[in-house]
Amino acid sequence: MAKLELSHLNKTYSPKIIPVKDVSLDVDDGEFLTLLGPSGCGKSTILRLIAGLEQPTRGEIRIDGKNVTQHSPGDRNIAMVFQSYALYPHMTVYDNMASGLKLKRVSSEEIRRRIEQVSLFLGLGNLMQRKPGQLSGGQRQRVALGRALVRQPDVFLLDEPLSNLDALLREQVRAELKQIFESQNTPVVYVTHDQTEAMTLSTKVAVLSNGDLQQLDPPRRIYTHPANRFVAGFVGSPQMNLLDLKCEGKFAILGNYKIPLPGRMTPPPEITLGVRPEHVRLAEPSDTHTLQGKVILKENLGMSDLLSVKVKGAENQTLRALLPSDRPWSAEEVTLALPPDLIHWFDVETGDRLTSENLQPVY
């Protein structure tokens, strides 16, 4: 139905406080874009700019090809779900859902039809005459969603809608959200700092840091090909091992061990090695590149153990490995293998991802 485009969006409060620096994004029909980042990265500000609750300093917002940058929030035909739900406390659930439609002068029959449909869909049927104060957290959340759905907007905006639910409910509602928005075929922009939500819900993830877009890719690719050191460290739990290593010839030096650099690259003097704990495994006899180390900490995560290992010859470097708990190893020393194709390399200075391709031109 519509397409949301942001071009060169900038929001400047003062020369030092620039929550959104220069963000350009497209969200198509049926796409679910998640803005992911730590608190203070500008993700909520971007959402508020799209909603029109704040005016951008520079840049343009287009919905369905139409420039809406100067339009008031009510004229943009968007629906927003707030972190606190923001239900009107003095109105019944039905009136909460109907209020936006009444202002748009939708006929009361049409309003009733839409609310009936949505409430059936969300299982709110018997709550229609209650006030928000008489609902549980999960029910309020659902009413807030319902209020957005009955609007049949051009764009859905969701601002951390799950963060006020307890862990169990959150997982359940997350699954419901996925089903609901798959059936909507409307652009969705979702803000969260929770990477699990970003990974499970989205078709595209935009990772943000300090008002800058770090990477815009499908969740799978964010995980397998992080664009830089920040994304590598932010996405994935437990966090990726990021070790600054010296280079010698075509090898990076980790303690007593040499790790081959990929491709025909001329290595810089220093390089950052990134490898996810879940990709580090116990060495098998057939492995060529292995390293030994002393286990300094073991954390039991249930289905697996998270080991912190000091690599031999590199006392200040700790490597963390996620090992299945059914595989035995000696308590003191382990021999680990780093699969070469699952190692990421980053520039020490810029943090950018280095591949055999983009390293080639360095002579």
């Binding site: 029109g52 929030p73 009510g74 923001a86 239900l87 009107y88 003095h90």
Partner: protein, 293 residues
């Protein structure tokens, strides 16, 4: 078994007696507090129903056996107390409404609109409340004289409104500040204009605070004495406090205690009724459920 249970018994007994001691102390404290604050009022109420003979009797009659409505009949039949009540009511209601009407939007602006100089405005509002109002009295008297407002309801309505607006602004502002901002954003996304949002979303949630500040303003205006005494001299326009104070007998030596007591009760009754009526509204329960609670 029995030896193990024995030492436990005396302890439960001391527990019980210490609890009942605390209860007794507690009840005594309540009774004393109630007597301390309500005794003068009770005395007035009793006096207003006593016959003149009982009022003047020596030794004092504390608990009368004969009751009469004579004093009430007297103040309404022989003096225009209904008229005084109307004056007080009109002046207090008007200034309360004006106060809320002017103060509430100002409070909203100060709470939400990030005005330049907001802190200075707030400081000035606060300083105004610190003035002993007796200091303003002479200046106001001059103004009333100059503008010819004497013996006009406006001479009371304007100062009462002005005196109570700072309180309204401060109370309402802190109330607006604790309202979740998301609600206003949500209303904007829904398409409410600023005025519609104030009317349909914020006002219903603000009612408890409006009622509370409104009642405070009403009480202050209803009870005000000095301005009412000075700016209004025409008998038909006097307010209750002035009228009560000026109740006198036919001679200097005759003090109409009964009528004074009846007038006091009549003058206090509207306030009591008002507070009882809105008691439930004053209890803030309306914002629950807007956000996660």
């Amino acid at each position: 078994m029995s030896t193990a249970q024995l030492p436990a018994e005396p302890r439960t007994q001391t527990d019980k007696s210490s609890i009942s001691w605390r209860r007794i102390l507690w009840i005594t404290a309540i009774v004393l507090t109630v007597i301390f604050s309500l005794a003068p009022i009770l005395w007035q109420v009793l006096t207003s129903f006593k016959t003149n003979a009982d009022i003047e009797a020596v030794p004092t009659v504390y608990l009368p056996t004969r009751f009469t409505l004579q004093h009430y009949i007297e103040i309404f039949a022989r003096r225009p107390f209904a008229n005084y009540m109307f004056n007080s009511g009109f002046v207090a209601v008007t200034s309360t409404l004006l106060c809320l009407l002017l103060g509430t939007p100002a409070a909203y602006a100060l709470a939400r609109l990030r005005l330049p100089g907001e802190r200075i405005i707030l400081a000035i509002v606060l300083v105004v409340t610190l003035f002993p109002y007796i200091l303003l009295f002479l200046g106001l008297l001059e103004i009333v004289r100059a503008t010819g407002l004497a013996n006009n309801y406006l001479a009371l309505i304007i100062p009462y409104t002005a005196m109570n607006i700072p309180l309204t602004i401060l109370v309402m502002r802190s109330f607006f500040q604790q309202l979740p901002r998301d609600l206003e954003d949500s209303a904007k996304v829904d398409g409410y204009s600023t005025w519609k949002m104030l009317l349909h979303i914020l006002l219903p949630m603000t009612i408890p605070a409006l009622v509370t500040t409104g009642i405070l303003t009403f009480i202050a205006s209803w009870n005000e004495f000095l301005f009412a005494l000075t700016f209004i001299t025409r008998e038909s326009m006097k307010t209750i406090p002035v009228a009560v104070a000026q109740l006198s007998g036919t001679t200097v030596f005759e003090i109409p205690y009964g009528a004074q007591a009846a007038a006091t009760v009549v003058g206090t009754l509207p306030l009591v009724v008002l507070v009882l009526l809105f008691q439930r509204r004053i209890v803030q329960g309306l914002t629950s459920g807007a956000v996660k609670g």
